[in-house]
Amino acid sequence: MQELIQAYSWINLRFLLMGLWVTIEVSVISIGLSFVIGSLLGIIRYMKLGWFSKIVGFIVDVIRNLPLLLIIFFTYFGLPKIGIHMGVMMSTTVAMTIFESAMIAEIVRSGILAVPKGQLEGALSNGLTMPETLWHILLPQAYKKMIPPLVSQFVSLIKDTSLATIIMLPEVTFRAQTIYAQKPQAIIPMFIMLALLYFVLNFTVSQLGSYFDRRMEA
């Protein structure tokens, strides 16, 4: 009991929460960037703009089939070899954005494809251009359908930030490790606390998602 209370001392908790903030920062920036970049890539691939879409499609497929960890190694250890130096935080954010953009690109593309073809044909026959059709008709309907897969992608992104412990990003998992490395008795209390923090964070995100989903349904 004594040990438990010691493990959850204010100093330790504050240390963990600062890590949680790093997790949130990396996640929010990566989610924001990859949503925009992924949407663009998905739209480009959907529109079948000749070789341009094919190249985008190829890159997206390659990235989607690589482990995220490899991409983190690439941005942290690989890029400096060609003269691009980034801090741990930046390397992680860039790696996550690259990986998640590819994942979101496919969610967006399949979301647009899931809108009944008649919507596209109706709009084109009505005289709308392809960009107008996308913007006014296809994307609003597609994003509505995409909320659940997008939210689960965001949740897995948040969880995957823990991979960056390997390049010593001081996020929440790394900090928990730091604590129990010094005090082996704290290992179980730290795992419990980590589980709790991730759960609260991710549960909040998915509840937020369901809220938007319901609101758009109405």
Partner: protein, 244 residues
Amino acid sequence: MSMIEFKDVEKYYGDFHALKDINLDVETGETVVLIGPSGSGKSTLIRSVNGLETIQKGQLIVNGQDLADPKTNLNRIRKDVGMVFQHFNLYANKTVLENIMLAPRLVLHRDEAENKKVAMGLLERVNLVDQANKYPSTLSGGQQQRIAIARSLAMKPKALLFDEPTSALDPEMVNDVLKFMREIAQDSSMTMLVVTHEMGFAKQVADRVIFMADGQILEDSPTKEFFEQPSEPRARKFLSQIVH
């Protein structure tokens, strides 16, 4: 002057020869009904008129522009040639009023007040003013189809294409839609090409009837002649099966 002109048009889906040596002339203001068994190429033919299907050979001149030419701007053709589909294809994310007002706003840059006036006028014509702010999914098929036709008319098109406009409707809804189409056909400047199985409509409204089978036009006759003495045996057989 012809509004729609097919010259030796061929269309393939892979190995399947969907349109064979199509030659067809639809004059401005004419109403032409296209009939034939399913799989005969009627829909493919009508969908190629506004570029929803591409043709592989021949010329297809619509409103003075050749669709076979890759440089032709499809949007310019579609602006003047509306299309009404079997399954309505109203925008699911827009209200009835917005469905009608969207294209005139984006494509014709019609003034907003004028746009609304035109749209409400059209809704009045089809007795659906009270549905203006509803979403399409809450309406019956017959209502949706009349709105889809109104949406096409709002663009003030020179020609309208109808691809089996009443085939997906419950029988009691069919007449409202046909009535609206008859009214439109009375406008002498409107060119109409209609794929339908409604022989009563064809008899009353069409100037000419085209009979298609296996991707070919087998008969192209004035309406009265077509129904009284079809020259083509397959057309005769087709008529005996569906006209009672």
